[in-house]
């Protein structure tokens, strides 16, 4: 199928972009990083087209639906969101060093997607709902925000460690200041949090419309609540206790690990209602 080939191309582009950003960091060549940006933009175009093509192809097969309904599709959609979120951050903060820490997340996600079944399967009755669109999109934009935050948190920890030892220059010398990094760790979560909240709410609304219960302590629901609580704790610690820097960065990374478990771990380890469970 054309869409799968386009997604393969996207994977390649994410890989090239990741290599470029990392190489630019160590080689200290802005030009290489600039190429990385253009590769990311190309990847954004190709992956958007791939999603569109997949959507159209599903209609041609008589099972038309938005392509976010199994593990393969959700992974590529997550990578797509991370890429776009990253481009927005790069544009806003005028620094390409983030790319070396965020784009590998998108690349790794696509590599993992490649190991999964990629054919277009018809939708089971439970998933045939308009709530699907709102639910999946809000959740994944939220996840993408958390991914960016965690990537930047790693940068912060690297830079802070070097500064502690009073080492200047090197790879981290090209990073934005710790103040900017710390702020971005927070900002990305501030963007992700309302989307996760909306994702949980749309999920509850959908469950209520399909089964008559908006909350049933299903493992997926429960883990989304856990993730929500972790980031709620992060925001409280930051706003009311002034948790900045190291502690905030570590909490952001913990939050993202919980997010990954909520997204993948629950389906692979625990049992529940979500569609990519057995897939």
């Amino acid at each position: 199928m054309l869409n799968v080939r386009l997604f393969d191309l996207t994977t390649l582009l994410f890989g090239v972009a990741s290599v470029n950003y990392v190489a630019a960091l160590y080689g200290k060549k802005e030009t290489i990083a600039r190429i990385g940006t253009w590769v990311c933009i190309a990847a954004a175009i190709v992956s958007t087209a791939a999603i569109g093509v997949r959507w159209a192809e599903s209609y041609k097969m008589g099972i038309g639906r938005i392509p976010v309904t199994n593990l393969y599709e959700s992974l590529v959609f997550f990578a797509w969101s991370v890429n776009l979120f990253y481009l927005a951050v790069e544009w806003k903060y005028k620094s390409r060093t983030f790319g070396a820490f965020v784009m590998p997340i998108a690349f790794g996600t696509m590599l993992f997607a490649l190991t999964n079944e990629s054919s277009i399967q018809p939708l089971v009755p439970a998933l045939q709902s308009y709530w699907l669109h709102a639910h999946v999109i809000t959740c994944f934009v939220g996840y993408a925000g958390f991914a960016v935050s965690a990537g930047v948190a790693v940068m912060f920890l690297m830079k802070a460690k070097r500064e502690e030892r009073k080492v200047t220059g090197g790879v981290v010398g090209r990073f934005p200041s710790t103040k900017v990094l710390d702020d971005l760790v927070y900002k990305a979560i501030v963007w992700g949090f309302p989307f996760l909240t909306a994702g949980i709410i749309t999920g509850a609304a959908w469950a209520n419309y399909a089964w008559g219960t908006y909350w049933s302590w299903d493992p997926k629901e429960t883990w989304s609540l856990i993730v929500w609580l972790v980031y709620a704790a992060f925001l409280h610690a930051r706003v009311t206790r002034g948790w900045h820097g190291r502690r905030a960065a570590i909490l952001s990374i913990i939050g993202f690990l919980a997010t990954i478990f909520c997204y993948l771990g629950v389906n692979l380890v625990l049992s529940g209602l979500h569609s990519y469970g057995g897939a």
Binding site: G62, I63, Q121, P122, V124, P125, A126, Q128, S129, W131, K179, V180, D183, V190, F193, P194, T197, A198, I201, A204, A205, N208, Y209, A210, W211, G212, T213, Y214, W215, W217, P219, T222, W223, L225, I226, L229, V230, A232, A233, L235, H236, A237, V239, T240, R241, V266, L270, S271
Partner: protein, 453 residues
């Protein structure tokens, strides 16, 4: 007196405990840990299943701690109660203070305030004090927000603010959680959740509630007229649907076909398509015709039973295919005529004349499969659900207000300096997003300094 004082300090301590962030963090962490435990230990499974996983001792321990139905255990509910009390106390403790700050803003920039602010700049300007105050008032309105002007013994103070709502975002969010809990309680106390398995053609009025032995009398009954399953070309189910009628006082008052994700609602009770199953054995209908066109007979066949066709032979159905080699539904029958070997052949629903090819005294046609299903419905009435949605909407709004708005304040003080020029002090503060405000403040600084009298 001493007693009263003691009591007061005890009250103080209790109040401090319930309004503390420590309690909030403690409850949040414990809720998270408990939730993790609840996903690791599968909830509400039959005892046999637990026996396969855990030893008897572990099961006894887990039962004592209510870990098999943890989300409804007393201690989990206690955590939720603590969480709610904490939220209420924090709101009661802090909201009035915020209201006071918002209603009585500090409109004059005195020295103490100036020292406490992170963004301060000063410069001198030639000109007349009142005229300059007017100029800055206009400039501040353009660059930030319209200021209030107060004159205090020869000193002019200009004060403007933006994003006051940001101060309330956190309370909207916290109250929204309480509203959601309220909605959940209302639903649990006044509503019910049940299920109904209705065989096609039958109706129910009393609904057994989920997880209990009680029944709820709906006051009307629901009949399942028909149930069917649609399939994708690859055989995967595409849709389950039930044609339902609501019957009240012997009259049909509502009829609707429900599907998964498309429920029926009558008088606040919702019926959701949840499952289905076979209700007894299916039968098939076969018609028997004369090749000359006359004399028709319709017979119904049950699995494993013969049917007698008078003056012809005995027939039984042995296999059914929903799609036989792309030709549609087909039935395999065995025909036993007296004095001959039993013959086995397929009948195709799409080609009723197909069996003429045997060139016998009768030909058979497959008229269809009569599957009898029961439809499995979830039945729920939840008068609290709209309260929950109200809380959810407020939560999203509250979070957006809390994190995307910031309460930004700006002061300008104009006073006559010793050298005859006017001393201008510009100061600003924000409760959030310092970095963004820093840039904004720099721009305002530039604008204000460039002001021409």
């Amino acid at each position: 007196m001493a007693d009263a004082k003691h009591a007061e300090s005890l009250m103080d301590r209790v109040w401090k405990f319930f309004t503390s962030l420590k309690l909030a963090i403690f409850v949040i962490i414990f809720l998270a840990i408990a939730s993790i435990i609840g996903t690791v230990i599968e909830q509400n499974q039959p005892l046999e299943k637990y026996r396969q996983i855990y030893t008897d001792g572990t099961i006894r321990l887990f039962e004592k701690l209510s870990l098999f139905d943890m989300y409804h255990s007393w201690w989990f509910l206690l955590l939720l109660v603590l969480f709610t009390v904490n939220l209420i106390c924090c709101t009661v403790d802090r909201l009035p203070r915020v209201v006071r700050i918002v209603r009585n803003p500090k409109t004059t920039l005195d020295e103490n305030l100036e020292k406490s602010l992170g963004f301060v700049d000063r410069w001198k300007k030639k000109g007349e004090l009142a005229a300059l105050a007017e100029t800055y008032r206009a400039a501040m309105g353009g660059a930030f927000a319209r200021p209030r002007v107060t004159e205090n013994s020869g000193t002019f103070h200009l004060y403007a603010e933006k994003g006051v709502a940001s101060r309330f975002g956190v309370y909207v969010t916290h109250i929204s959680i309480i509203i959601i809990f309220l909605g959940a309680i209302v639903g649990n106390v006044l509503g019910f959740k049940g299920y109904a398995n209705i065989v096609e053609g039958e109706s129910v009025r009393r609904i057994p509630t989920r997880g209990g032995t009680n029944h709820v009398d709906l006051g009307f009954s629901v009949r399942c007229n028909k149930f069917w399953v649609e399939y994708y070309p690859n055989g995967q189910p595409k849709e389950y649907a039930s044609d339902l009628s609501v019957i009240e006082n012997g009259r049909e008052v509502l009829r609707k076909t429900i599907e998964v994700n498309d429920p029926l609602q009558y008088k606040g009770v919702w019926f959701y398509q949840a499952s289905y199953g076979p209700a007894g054995a299916s039968t098939v209908t076969v018609t028997v015709s004369n090749p000359d066109g006359g004399q028709r007979e319709t017979i119904s066949l049950s699995p494993g039973r013969h049917a007698e066709i008078s003056g012809y032979g005995k027939i039984s159905a042995v296999d059914y295919r929903p799609d036989f080699q792309g030709l549609g539904p087909a039935l395999l029958v065995v025909l036993e005529k007296p004095g001959t070997q039993p013959a086995q052949f397929w009948l195709l629903k799409a080609f009723p004349e197909f069996d003429r090819q045997r060139k016998d005294t009768r030909y058979l046609s497959f008229a269809g499969l009569n599957e009898i299903f029961f439809t499995g419905l979830q039945v729920a009435r939840d008068p609290g659900v709209n309260i929950v949605w109200l809380g959810c909407a407020l939560m999203v709004i509250g979070i957006i207000i809390a994190f995307f708005l910031s309460h930004q304040r700006l002061w300008i003080r104009l006073s006559r300096g010793g050298d005859g020029r006017v001393e201008v002090v510009l100061a600003g503060s924000t409760n959030k997003n310092r970095l963004a405000f820093e840039k904004k403040f720099e721009k305002i600084q530039g604008d204000m300094k460039a002001v021409k009298p």
